[in-house]
């Protein structure tokens, strides 16, 4: 029986890891679009990582790359801190442009939550190797596909 924790973007990664650490019910799988952010972080026992394909996993906007660049420019100076903030801002812009580009390429409008496709597919893939017991959503943008997936299987879904 597997608890699935979903967060396309890793901005609430610490929350997901903390939740996984506090749950001792069994196996846990973290589904995320930014596995690079999780690489190097000690996951709680019994927790594995599975990648979601999607715009946020685009190498050009990898949070890991931004993190390394941030490390390089920062060095503790005020100028470095400003450069660091600029990098973060640039990261958001790149992601936004990347998202829009993908949406238009896929023929969907800018209001489409195309991340749904990735989450649904990942859950179906996971289902082939795990018995999913519950889904816990840490990114609200992942809630629609999680609910749609759970509805046909009578699985409980939680937002945390």
């Amino acid at each position: 029986m597997t608890l699935v924790l979903i967060l396309n973007r890793t901005l609430r990664l610490a929350n997901a890891i903390s939740y996984a650490a506090s749950d001792d019910s069994g196996e846990k799988v973290i589904l995320t679009g930014e596995t690079a952010d999780v690489a190097g972080i000690a996951l709680p026992p019994g927790t594995e990582l599975m990648a979601l394909a999607g715009p946020s996993a685009h190498p050009a906007v990898s949070a890991r790359i931004v993190g390394r660049a941030e490390h390089w420019v920062k060095g503790g100076s005020a100028l470095g801190a400003r450069a660091s903030r600029w990098l973060r801002s640039a990261e958001w812009r790149l992601r936004y442009v990347d998202r829009l580009k993908s949406l238009f390429e896929s023929g969907k409008g800018p209001d489409s939550t195309f991340d749904q496709v990735d989450v649904s597919e990942a859950l179906r893939e996971l289902e082939s190797s795990h018995v999913i017991e519950q889904i816990v959503v840490f990114d609200l943008f992942d809630l629609p596909p999680a609910l749609a997936f759970a509805a046909t299987r009578d699985l409980p879904v939680k937002v945390r």
Binding site: R12, G76, F141, P144, V159, R160
Partner: protein, 410 residues
């Protein structure tokens, strides 16, 4: 009769026998993810509960979203889940309910108002509150959200240190003025913070703003007299964030290590600047002298304060400064910046608790201040300082005053 009215007041009843019911809305509240966030809000809640009030807490939490409008299907999914199972959508622990609120990037503080308002409204559809008074912590986003929700009467307490940044957003000053003018009572936790609001929003609001300090609870913090003037073991308690002055802290500590190679620095807290702090210490060769505990329950802070010799807290801006006051309560001398909150809260015991440095202080000034304490030259009076903290900021004192405010408005 006066006698029964007193009894009613003591039991948390409004005159007439009804229990006083309060809804607290705060974006900060301790939870499984952060033991420190909003601990001062929880202290207030516990203090008025101890007087018999029933308090429900709505804790809107920012769920970061991409720039632009949040797609309707996200809100619809949250609504669907809430209707099916309210507690699956709104994590509830006792009387505290978390309210997930999708906030688009770059939507600013007013974007948070929209998200909080919509999410709390959705929460109340399935988990309603029926209260006598709403107490919102922070003017924007939470106070304005409470107004948008139509709550009445409303008490608003301001204690955010990033006030100027928030008010620099287009339209924010006008919205903030609306909150101050329409709230039934607007509270600041320090005179310094009130002055900042008046400077940004207009002096004409002066009569609309009352002062009520935060609670400083010393029940888990033991007092110990330090008579040997040791200053080897530094401690900082708080968020590891750039705006808290942690860069100056580690640079000053690095400099102090040159005159005292046995010195240690304990950082009790967590925050986005932790990687920088750890990298800096490693790169400069003093990582082994530094301990970073991460986020801990507030109840365990006392043991770290007990083991320390001096608190060094170099935040350039504080609305109140609870961490310094807790250190004073533990008998520690404190080196702090004149950050607004510190000099307000320390008041006339400033010379007896440590050293307040100008905001322009550099690492050398910090080391000099610590050395002054270590020399025993300062006339510190930790017993009187602790007594003053208890007298002014104890849960009993602040809770009583807050309870009276609620009663008056209910």
């Amino acid at each position: 009769m006066a006698c029964s009215e007193d009894l009613a007041a003591n039991r948390g009843w409004r005159t007439g026998g009804a229990t006083l019911r309060v809804c607290v809305i705060s974006p900060w509240y301790p939870d499984r993810y952060s033991a420190y966030s909003g601990i001062f809000v929880r202290k207030q809640v516990e203090a008025v509960e101890a007087l018999g009030a029933e308090v429900w807490v709505e804790n809107p939490e920012i769920y970061p979203a991409p720039p632009g409008k949040v797609p309707p299907e996200v809100w619809e999914a949250l609504r669907e889940l809430a209707r099916r199972d309210p507690y699956a959508a709104f994590d509830t622990n006792g009387t505290v309910t978390k309210v997930p609120s999708p906030v688009p990037s770059r939507s600013g503080y007013l974007g948070r108002v929209d998200a909080f308002t919509r999410a709390i409204r959705l929460k109340r559809e399935v988990l309603p509150v029926d209260v006598d008074v709403t107490h919102a912590h922070l003017g924007i986003p939470t106070g304005l959200a409470a107004l948008e929700l139509g709550d009445s009467p409303i008490v608003v307490t301001e204690h955010q240190s990033t006030l100027e940044r928030m008010l620099s957003e287009p339209g924010a000053v006008a919205q903030y003025r609306k909150v101050v003018e329409r709230a039934d009572l607007f509270i600041c936790v320090s005179g310094h913070l009130r002055d900042r609001i008046l400077a940004a929003c207009g002096d004409d609001l002066v009569d609309r703003i009352e002062l009520l300090p935060n609670i400083v609870d010393l029940s888990d913090i033991e007092f110990r007299v330090r008579s040997d003037f040791r200053t080897s073991n530094w401690i900082y308690v708080g968020s590891i964030s750039q705006h808290k002055g942690v860069e100056l802290l580690v640079r000053a500590f690095e400099r102090y290590r040159k005159v005292n190679s046995a010195a240690t620095l304990t950082i009790v807290g967590e925050g986005p600047h932790r990687p920088w702090v750890e990298r800096y210490a490693s790169g400069r060769g003093f990582r082994s002298a530094m301990t970073v505990t991460g986020s801990l329950p507030h109840s365990s802070v006392g043991q770290f304060l007990d083991a320390a010799d001096v608190m060094v807290h170099l935040s350039p801006s504080e609305t109140f400064g609870i961490a310094s006051l807790e250190a004073i309560g533990a008998g520690l001398p404190v080196v702090s910046l004149r950050n607004g909150g510190a000099q307000d809260a320390w008041g006339d015991i400033e010379s007896e608790v440590g050293v307040l440095l100008d905001l322009s202080a550099d690492a050398g000034d910090v080391v000099d201040a610590v050395s002054d304490i270590g020399s025993g030259a300062l006339k510190l009076d930790p017993e009187r300082a602790r007594a003053r903290v208890i007298e002014s900021f104890s849960p009993d004192e602040v809770g009583r005053r807050l309870f009276e405010i609620y009663q008056k408005l209910a």
